[in-house]
Symmetry: C2
Subunit: 350 residues, 2 copies
Amino acid sequence: MSKVTIKDIAKIAGISRGTVDRVINNRGNVEKELEQKIMRIATELGYEKNLMASNLASKKIFKVAAIISDPTTDLFWNFPYQGIQKALKVVKHYGVEVEYFHFPDYDNHAFSIQMENALMSNPDGIILAPLYTREAEMFLDTAVSKNIPVITINTEIHHPGVLSYIGQHSYFAGYLAGRLLHLRLEPKDDVVALNFGHKVNNANHYADKIEGIKGYFAEHNLVDNNVHWYEFEDFQNKAAIISFFKDLQLRHPKMKALFFTNSRAYKLLDLLDYETCKALYIVGFDMIEPNIAHLKKGKMDFIINQNPLQQGYQGLMSFVDHSILQQEIKSKHYLPLDIVLKENVDFYNN
Amino acid sequence: MSKVTIKDIAKIAGISRGTVDRVINNRGNVEKELEQKIMRIATELGYEKNLMASNLASKKIFKVAAIISDPTTDLFWNFPYQGIQKALKVVKHYGVEVEYFHFPDYDNHAFSIQMENALMSNPDGIILAPLYTREAEMFLDTAVSKNIPVITINTEIHHPGVLSYIGQHSYFAGYLAGRLLHLRLEPKDDVVALNFGHKVNNANHYADKIEGIKGYFAEHNLVDNNVHWYEFEDFQNKAAIISFFKDLQLRHPKMKALFFTNSRAYKLLDLLDYETCKALYIVGFDMIEPNIAHLKKGKMDFIINQNPLQQGYQGLMSFVDHSILQQEIKSKHYLPLDIVLKENVDFYNN
DNA sequence: AAATGGAATGTGCGCGAGCCCAAACTTTTG
DNA sequence: CAAAAGTTTGGGCTCGCGCACATTCCATTT
């Protein structure tokens, strides 16, 4: 904690506090030479603004808009939400406030509307889960023009308006899944990859994961192990799921492993008995309750955890680093891909 | 961010700020009835102290003494150090300062001395890596008497003076290792568990890990797989390590897996060629550089990561939660036991 | 040379709480 | 009963900075 104040600088420079203030916060109206002199003195003395005093005086509120999926429509989103709340406890004293703009995860229109609403709230920063690529990109264009820092979480999209991305690396998530499948796969065993999701969701990280698996298989010459990919939209309909699965069994008699591209493994596993599951080798994502239950019962073998709580926590912390503490932040912050099995699952609950 | 101030309370109570201040910070010298009235009003209004203003006025410094092993004597300790530094960046504006009391990890005497020194610095809180149980317990007794909150990391000891423990659960770390070994072990294969460490280090978490492995093997009826445990102190002596290993090979012809109880797997692997390693199934702890290198080369199969960075980060954050934000903190915070292999190792570097 | 105006610089107040001393009030003491 | 001592309460000053307004300076213009 440096104890240099603007008064110290003013005294040394032989001028008043006001001018130093103008320089420090570059409010202009200061002679160039003086400005440089003051800056020099400030850096020489190692001046650091006293955040407490600054915030107290200005009463500045940093409004953060969090545009994330509604935790009630998809359990998964409870984690990022909790992460943001956890970070908030620490940083709210810096004047940070968070307003949530939730949307049902299957509704791209609501997504767009909430992005609009978020912008209208005139935030100082945005935490965005860009589930719909096209809509998000349009939004980012205007965010850029308004000079609002946007931090994306969970889903990576490539757009210059993104200040920082925090989340998994989709390709390597699939690659890791490939590795885990490889642990048990025999030659000629087939893998079926399932994407239980809404077509309207045009994000392509599901495809990236599949690519990751295939990449792993190719690199390790698992040429006899085919990977079949299916998308299935009607995952709320139990009867439909069952007949879909029966069909899979018929179509792929050598099916030995199931890979789920997202957190919805439980939608199928809920409907299968223990023996059927045990005969398969099952890998999926995300530690939501129903998946954990299947893991513990032994119906599921591996869960790959993408640290969703950390996505929220880091998301808000990165905003603080950037906009309040003025620190450099990484443009890509790939979170660890945790391998979770029955024996360590309990330690991932915090 | 509540906007109720001490002035608001004073106005409603019909008295002056000074008295409210006395009540809020219970400095005494206030009539009981008035005190209760003020407290009632404060809670009714949901008063929350403005940390920025409080800190600015009091200029209180929260001194934290971090008693951890010297990163230069054991690479591992660089992680908790970095974690503390990372947390410090965020909370230093609350007036938090950290002073380090390092000790060589093999020197229990230096450990005791540094604990003494830490106490003499009159800290407001202590982050302690209690590598030596007996010495740490004596220290905790006096810390308790001085009413200084102590947060332990990395090594769990059971003492009422510990406010919170942050780190792994040793037994389940071993249990998890058992699971990982099980993935590849054939019946009759033997496991050799190695503890490369200093005898003087009387912490018993190494033993806990071995118990964990044995526990897993017992629960899964792996009666044909023996686990042999060796302690080896002379691990800085390459020749000694080699002859020790040769001896192991002779003594245990069915040795198929090596388990290291700590981060020193590399001390042996450095000296073995690729084929020898590949013929064995090798599990160890901690993502220090030399271990990572062996993992990437394929000489090591699994690393169990105990989140040492998080130990430091959470350690300091917990102090802040407890002593500054006045929040309840958990007395046990078991960190995840990450399963790290070649395919996900790169995402654990932050 | 005086007046004008814009740029550059100085200064006072306030943010909310901590802290100290003065003031008011109460009780004890000689 | 007055003085002294103790208890309780009031309010001013301060922390470092932001901000609005006042003041000074200097170059034009008339």
